[in-house]
């Protein structure tokens, strides 16, 4: 594919947290989220192409996941929280209908 993979935007509301604190994550990725309901000028249905799965892992542990349907807006935005247990990587993964994965990372330090 000639188009580069879209770079997701990730924001944690804090970089350092106390054990047990809630960390808020805001995540946005550029994606058309083509619903499969629209038609082009000639009346042909434009095939569906969406992000159908989102996961958030902290230190390899799944903390939050979403199954997305075509009714989620283009450039899907997700906001959620997780409980800080230990320092580590925060890995967000978006899975496209065609199987490609968009991965974004941040880190959290638990003091």
């Amino acid at each position: 594919m000639s188009t580069p993979a879209p770079r997701p935007r990730i924001r944690l509301d804090k970089k350092e947290a106390k054990k047990g604190d809630l960390v808020e994550v805001k995540a946005l990725v550029a994606h058309i989220m083509e619903s499969g309901q629209r038609k082009d000028k000639d009346g042909n249905v434009i095939p569906r192409k969406i992000i159908n799965k989102f996961t958030c892992e902290v230190n390899g542990q799944l903390v939050f996941a979403v199954d997305l349907e075509p009714a989620i807006s283009a450039n899907p935005y997700l906001q959620f929280k997780f409980k800080a247990e230990e320092s580590g990587k925060v890995v967000l993964t978006w899975v496209d209908d065609d199987g490609t994965k968009i991965v974004g990372e941040d880190t959290i330090t638990v003091t």
Binding site: S35, Q37, F64, E69, I72, A74, Q79, F80, K83
Partner: protein, 151 residues
């Protein structure tokens, strides 16, 4: 004694039958999409109780292409008692499903926000499933000025 049906009675009877048929038809038309089936598959046929879930949507959405949606579910989110899944459906879209959210005690809190598409004025339903299998729900109606599923 023979029972006779007068012309007037026969007409009334006929009107009744028509009314029943019309009602049956209206009932069918109400289930616009697969949202009922999605709810049934999620709940296993059990009726969710209203409460604990708070669905946050605007009363009026000017642009159905991107409507902010947020929800919170009351729960201590401990190993013993936590929310596992939240299903969100829309009754008036071409397809009922919006998203299914998955939580664990590591989530710390059962809340999330996203942006959705709504084709027309309709009800949005959120159903939360707890780890003990109990189900809670909330419903919000959103008036949509410009639909979000057109070409």
């Amino acid at each position: 004694m023979t029972t006779t049906v007068s012309r007037r009675e026969a007409f009334a009877l006929g009107a009744g039958v028509v009314a029943v048929l019309a009602l049956g038809g209206a009932d069918k038309a109400f289930a616009k999409n697969d949202s009922d089936d999605l709810i049934k598959a999620f709940t296993g046929g059990k009726a969710p109780v209203k409460g604990k879930v708070k669905l946050d949507l605007p009363d009026i959405a000017e642009n159905g292409n991107t409507v902010p949606l947020a929800f919170t579910v009351e729960s201590p989110m401990t190993e013993a008692s936590h929310v596992t899944d939240v299903l969100i459906v829309a009754e008036g879209n071409p397809r009922g499903g919006l998203a299914t959210f998955h939580f664990s005690p590591r989530s710390g809190v059962a809340e999330a926000a996203t942006r959705i598409r709504l084709a027309e004025t309709q009800n949005v339903i959120a159903i939360a499933k707890m780890n003990d299998g109990t189900l809670f729900m909330d419903t919000r109606q959103v008036k949509v000025t410009i639909g979000g599923c057109g070409g």
